[in-house]
């Protein structure tokens, strides 16, 4: 009897976790399509909040800014992170181990603390607040994710492939472009998607580092909720969730891909 009971408890447990994780999201998504502004039932299908949102210039410009910052962050973090990973892979140097260990704490340190530290630091060195500060902050947050993902992929890369290419006359740039990058591409794409997600979903650091009036989407939502909740927020949140989930889905697909081959 206990044989059949244990897996059953396990399944119930898993179900409970998934329920508490996804039920609020599903309710919110459902409500974003409900006509009533006060969450009244019966459910009446409507795209009213999406239309209203589409007409809201503030939301749109925040969304554009969020996407823009996320794209710049992705490009910069992916390029720097990939270069760093290849450097760490190819060369042995004093302090390499320490450097690699230092990559992980930023993932674990609460963003509230990272954000405060960045704000103080950026003011101290004169960058202050604003979009450049936000981008620098996001890149710093996203870098470890890119490095970890690309490094994981590189660990299965055979360095003699680079040597073979060089023996056939390829210079460093050609070797990188034709041999190394094609191999680590899935890891680079996954790292880039993680970087995009880290930036696009970022609230704390953006909140600390952005100028009032130059908010990103999560910051705008937060300020809007404080003023008074409208189902428009459900609509924009639903879109953000859909985008984030799609990115995470792609990222895990690519990084699994990266581990498999």
């Amino acid at each position: 009897m206990s044989r059949s009971l244990l897996p059953l408890i396990g399944k119930l447990w898993l179900f409970a976790i998934l329920f508490f994780l996804y039920a609020p999201i599903l309710v919110m998504a459902a409500m974003s399509f409900n006509a009533s502004p006060f969450y009244q039932l019966p459910f009446e299908l409507s795209t009213r909040w999406y239309q209203q949102m589409a007409g809201n210039g503030q939301i749109l410009s925040a969304a554009l800014r969020s996407v823009g910052i996320a794209m710049v962050t992705t490009l910069v973090a992916t390029a720097l992170g990939t270069a760093a990973s290849i450097g760490l892979f190819r060369y042995d140097f004093a302090g390499k181990k320490v450097l690699m260990v230092l990559l992980f704490p930023p993932i674990a340190i609460p963003w509230l603390i990272t954000g405060t530290a960045m704000l103080i630091f950026f003011f101290a060195i004169g960058i202050g607040r604003g979009t450049p500060a936000v981008i620098i902050g996001h890149v710093a947050l996203a870098l470890p994710y890119v490095i970890v993902t690309v490094t994981a992929r590189l660990s299965s890369f055979d360095i003699t492939l680079e040597e073979a290419a060089r023996s056939m006359g390829a210079n460093s740039w050609t070797v990188l472009r034709r041999v190394t990058l094609p191999w680590i591409a899935p890891g680079v794409v996954a790292g880039g998607l993680f970087a995009f997600a880290v930036s696009f979903d970022q609230f704390v650091v953006s909140y600390f580092l952005s100028e009032p009036g130059d908010s990103t989407l999560p910051v705008l939502i937060y300020t809007a909720i404080r003023k008074g909740f409208t189902p428009e927020i459900n609509a924009i949140s639903t879109i953000i969730i859909a985008v984030s989930m799609l990115i995470m889905f792609l990222a895990t697909r690519y990084s699994r891909f990266a581990g498999d081959r």
Binding site: D158, A164, M168, G169, P182
Partner: protein
Amino acid sequence: MSAVDVQNVTKRFGQTVALDDVSISFEDGGFFALLGPSGSGKTTLLRTIAGFHFAETGAIRIGDRNVENVPVEKRDIGMMFQNYALFPNMSVADNVGFGLRVRKVAAAEERRRIAEALELVQLGAMAERRPSQLSGGQRQRVALARAIVTNPKVLLLDEPLSALDKTLRVDMQIELKRIQREIGITTIFVTHDQEEALTLSDRIGILKDGRIVQVGPPREVYDKPVDAFTAGFLGDANWVPESWLSALRLPQPANGHSFAVRPEALSMAQARLDGMNAVAGRLTQRVFAGAMATCLIEVEGQKWKLIARDRDIPEITGDGAVWLNWRPEDTMAVRA
């Protein structure tokens, strides 16, 4: 002029001296084997010629160029790696064509040369496959085609056959030799397998502890090893006890030399034969192995080994007392 010339090259890794004042010349169009036990510096020498290592001292010439300051990609070499190192994301044809594309060879010419190289290794039909769709032996051939397609000045091979099983290895040895003859490319072949070195090469260089011990044609290094290490490394050697030396005809004055005989040079009899060198011993074991047989004979407390066709070895009766005879010219003299 030799195709590749290494002069007084020394290479250290930290405390380890991997190459200790190595000088060696590789003849144009020759098949040269670098033979030595593991850790003797064979790979280091090959990779220093290729340019993956830079020597602390000495000079390396490939063709008519000194290459100490030339990076790998400009040395005009072909190299075959132990694990083949084929590009997994490219087809066989693209793998072979890599070096041509890097050199910006025209498309039509590139296609022709890829086809030619694949034909040479008998893989014409496999051009569109991925490396993952090939057997070990086929990958090997692709790696070879890829290494020679650019007509490099020298072909460098680091134990290319050691990953193959015995039968396939022998097939590939024959293939390799055929292809090397056909295109006449100067080849440097690293191996720790003495039989492979003796079979394939025109010249052998023996390495030990980062030093070149002896260089010469296979027969010469086998028949006339310069020291005890080479004598024992290339095959079995039976060492003549000093007490017997005065009774033998020796190729050298005994002073400062040790003397040995190969197992296959011996013949066993119950008497000492005229005009031959001989030592007396006691037969302890006879091992039948089909066509050939091995006998173990105790000579003055040392184990001697005899290898001969089974039918050429007489039956020994009684207490096993025998004479081991050999022609005086088969006595090997090495530095003591």
